[in-house]
Amino acid sequence: MTIVNYDPRLVKSKNPYPKGPNDWKRFFSFNTDAKVIGIQYIVTALFFLLIGGLLAMLIRGELITPPSDLFDPTVYNGLYTMHGTIMLFLFLFPILSGLTNLLVPPMIGAPDMAFPKLNALAFWLVPVFSIILLLSFFVPGGPASSGWWSYPPISIQNPLGQIINGEMLWIIAISLSGISSIIGAVNFVTTIIRMRAPGMGFFKMPIFIWTVLAAQLLQLLGLPALTGGAIMLFFDLTFGTSFFRIEGGGDPVLFQHFFWFYSHPAVYVMVLPVFGIFSELFPVYSRKPLFGYKFVAVASFGITILSLVVWVHHMFYTGTPMWMRNLFMFTTMLIAVPTGVKVFAWIATLWGGNIRLTTPMLFCLGGLFNFIFGGITGVMLATVPVDIHVGNTYFVVAHFHYIIFNTIAFGIFAAIYHWFPKFTGKMFYEGLGKVHFALTFIGATLNWLPLHWAGLLGMPRRVASYDPEFAIWNVLASIGAFILGVASIPFILNMVSSWVRGKAAPPNPWKAIGLEWLLPSPPPHENFEEDIPTVLNEPYCYGLDKPFVEDEQFYIEKSLKEH
């Protein structure tokens, strides 16, 4: 029988808790605590969500009328390029890194990440490359204007002949973002492999940990290919090489291979953690064990492996031979199997459950609904004839946003609400949360559902002016986009006011199972410190008479006492 009366490291340490857990200044410093870094990531990313969203509303403002009256078409090119780049590299990747940083150590019982200093470095690269990217608005010629995929020969034209140009800054920013992601990925994978609590075998890990592992392995396998391509693009742009220039014996399609070899899996890097969030939240709010835990876990790796061999489906109409099209159509459709397993498991978990419609659950249900819709249009797009017909139209844009916003961002909002009490120690306002959900769901649906019709009728993407026959769909979409803009107001209001003056949160407000819920809210500096629980079962045994950890009562009482 061990009596826990002090933390040995605290007594030995020269400067115990150098910065108290409630010191707000640590959020503005080079702090190595994963919980601080997580919040730094999330707040930074949400700031860029506002900037990216502002650009989106400018784009929708331009498209509400058929002629290009609000902006010059050249400016419009810069707007959609920066919108896409900011949303992906400055909002989605950092916010998911933030959630991963917050959740991985407590969920596996680790005190911190394996490499805390590298972790802080990975975060502080975000403001650096963000500033570089935003500075490109002020260089002669404006920001990069060749779309977020930056295909040569458009991207390497450099019409003004400036050495420092928007495209160059874009490549530098993307490469720094890649370095930050690789540092993060090495850190996450090492932490998950080596620092799990005793008893937590792979098949007792939470699904979120499974999906993070799958997603971060995908980063490690795919991202270097994009980095390689970006280096070659940089050389072509700046040093006059001919990797992608036809006239010098190069091949522009080669860049597309490099780009999509990473950038298709990148979508899975973003969506896999969201699948993890769905798998965590559905059991909590329907009070049932996750259906088919092992299948859901393994399906994550099925997605990882398959997503590495589907990239050519983005290139069905760029001179790809027929055998290659058929092959990649087949592999792309195969991805529907592991994702189908997951969707089936979530619905089976919900089936007959005791469902609580809290804000996080609403976002999860909305995200699942949208994901099924976006998944179906995804299978349509995987079909070669359909893709050749609707490729580069608004159908693709609509499908992409159904996944990237209506699924991934919904899942992120669900996660923010669900774990907000845990990491801030405050409850959020449920009413404001529901208003946020309603506005987001209505806005998102109104924004992207009509664009499917515009695309099927043949409206091309990336144009500032269009035929008046598409006007009605664009008016609807623009109204939806403005509603989405309004939806950010209750969200910001809720987050800021709850954190400042919200009700104190109990350690386990949702009555959820999981190591993080055995900690006080907010968790202490090193989570469980030296008393790391021994895990007995996977964290989904709702309604079953199975203990989660050894000596559960001790941890519950301890968390209540410190609360």
């Binding site: 990925a185 090495v186 490690l220 270097p224 990797f243 021994t534 001790f554 410190e562």
Partner: protein, 198 residues
């Protein structure tokens, strides 16, 4: 806050998580990822070589293999030499380690010198079509890794003079040695691709 817990008792021995010793795992993961950049360049080289109607720049039919072959022999043998340096360190023979380790550094430096001589004698440049770009990109990117390896070895050599530094762990030396083997294997692939496949 923690003193209040005195009456809370734990009925089992609390678990333990290692706080350190993750560096090697992290480094191996990083090297696997790093190799994909080279892999991407190799694939790019092969695709361009196969699909390009004119490969070598005008007036060039191929590249001389003799100088790079000497370089290859030096680099590959340095991988064996570094292995013996590590052996000496494990046997706590610090001076043996330092001398053999320094010989590895010299071999690496000779490789960089040989690369420099080869570059300065070539009649094509970075801008000479897809081949020129690919040649300098691949050899240059690999050369940067060799230089990084030498600098890291220098750092490890300096650290061996710190008192008691290598008593407990030799993690830094092991990582640098692993990095050196990695650079070596990449070079063998690169040599086959550029110099043997003409």
């Amino acid at each position: 806050m923690l003193t209040e817990n005195q009456n809370l008792t734990l009925n089992h021995k609390p678990g333990h998580i290692k706080h350190d010793g993750h560096n090697m795992t992290g480094f191996i993961i990083f090297l696997c990822s790093e190799s994909i950049i080279f892999f991407a360049f190799f694939v790019g080289y092969s695709v361009l070589k196969i699909s390009s109607p004119v490969w070598y720049p005008e007036g060039i039919n191929g590249i001389d293999v003799k100088m790079p072959l000497i370089n290859t022999v030096i680099l590959v043998s340095s991988s064996f030499v570094i292995y013996f340096a590590e052996k000496y360190l494990h046997k706590k023979n610090l001076w043996g380690f330092r001398i053999i380790w320094f010989i590895t550094m010299l071999m690496g430096s000779y490789f960089v010198y040989g690369q420099y001589v080869e570059w300065s004698e070539l009649s094509f440049s970075l801008q000479s079509g897809a081949f020129g770009g690919m040649f300098y990109l691949l050899t240059g990117f690999h050369g940067l890794h060799v230089i990084t390896g030498i600098l890291l070895m220098g750092l490890m050599l300096l650290r061996s003079f710190l008192p008691d530094n290598y008593k407990g762990g030799e993690m830094g030396v092991e990582s640098v040695s692993l990095f050196w083997h990695f650079v070596d294997v990449i070079w063998i692939l690169l040599f086959g691709l550029i110099y043997l496949w003409q």
